[in-house]
């Protein structure tokens, strides 16, 4: 049975989820324009595939899955992509821009999340921002629920370490340094 009766109804449903999609897309790209493009492409794709959706309750998961696949395609096209899911931190040195951004708490936390591996970041954001259950995340990402749980554990563990490091850096920068003079 087709769920959507007409084109306008599809648009209304997609529009209702647009803010949530953008929030997730931004958390994956950390770039406003890329995130908007990703959401836009998701909307277009969803309109094309609207006939596939059967269950009203699953609109959010369905849209998110489309966006996740588009983002994967996008990442695959980037020649310099390095999968750092298991490689730990990409870069633990704080550049001046990062230091300046720490003045804004949200930007500071986002800069730390941006340093997580892509798969870990996706699981973390789907759970925390998308408010999806573990089983829903497993369905969206097409991975076993155990993998969702282990990735989430690693993501939060790394996040904790990174936040502590950033906090330590910030403390060191604000504290006067003592030096022994002979």
């Amino acid at each position: 049975m087709r769920f959507f009766r007409n084109h306008n109804q599809i648009q209304r449903y997609i529009e209702a989820h647009r803010a949530q999609l953008y929030r997730l897309a931004f958390a994956w790209c950390h770039n406003e324009q890329l995130a908007e493009d990703l959401v836009q492409d998701t909307c277009i794709k969803a309109l094309e595939k609207a006939a596939q959706l059967k269950d009203r309750e699953k609109v959010a998961g369905w849209l998110t899955r489309i966006m996740l696949n588009l983002h994967r395609d996008c990442l695959r096209k980037q020649k310099d992509l390095v999968d750092i899911d298991d490689a730990g931190l990409a870069d633990d040195s704080a550049n001046p821009e990062q230091v300046a951004r720490q003045a804004d708490t949200s930007a500071w936390v986002r800069s730390v999340i941006a340093r997580l591996g892509d798969d870990q970041r996706k699981v973390l954001t789907l759970v925390d921002l998308g408010d999806f259950s573990y089983s829903e995340v497993a369905a969206i990402m097409d991975i076993p629920i155990g993998t969702v749980m282990s990735r989430l554990c690693r993501a939060r563990r790394q996040l904790k370490v990174l936040l502590e490091e950033e906090k330590q850096h910030a403390t060191n920068r604000t504290q006067p340094q003592l030096r022994r003079i002979k």
Partner: protein, 247 residues
Amino acid sequence: MNNEEKGSYSEEYLNALVDGEFSADEKAERLKQLHLDPKASREYCQLRSIKEMVQSAYDQPPPAHLRPGKYRRWLPWAMVAGITMLAIGLVFTLPVETTQKGLERMVLLNPDGKGDRPAQVGDEETRIVFHVVNSTRTEAPELLDEIETVLREYKRQGHKLRVEVVAHSAGLDLLRKRLSSPAIQARIARLAHDYPNLTFVACRNTIDRIAVSEGIEVVLVPEAKITESGVSYVVHRQREGWIYIRV
């Protein structure tokens, strides 16, 4: 997820508890068990705090700037409506903008030397949030001096002002009865009484963490209101345009 019965809790279990993977009744029962284990309880608080930080960080992501040509297939009528609204908006708002530009503006700087928000624009209410994150056992008098000076000055000039002091992490010392001196407690009480536009807010996560790690009941001054997460609270205030001062 039966680790809790053995007295040790896996990370997966604690995450599932934080993420609402159990029903409300189940969660309440499991949390009761968890509080018997200080280490696990502390880890649970940390995970909950991390989750709240992530949620707050993306609560209002920066908006994207639309590029022409990209949206032809998506709600094309929106462009026509947008242009019409823009024209109407320009006609009605231009005089207001011109008037505001003429106003003398004062900008408050944060500790990092940043500050792009006017401290006072016309008759608008100024809203300042002091985020106290470090122990103020020695600096509390200076902090309260600063706050009182701002409150007094705005009151004298008849300007609208709202000030919130959010105590979080080690900054909670300021509002703790055991660690704040009687003089400071009396001053907090007097300030709260004299200035209804001043609010003291304590972080529940920090209270829980201290209660677990130190095994004591954290008692606050009666003027302190409690919020679930100090970080989330401050981020919300920043998003709402409050002037943010980190202490």
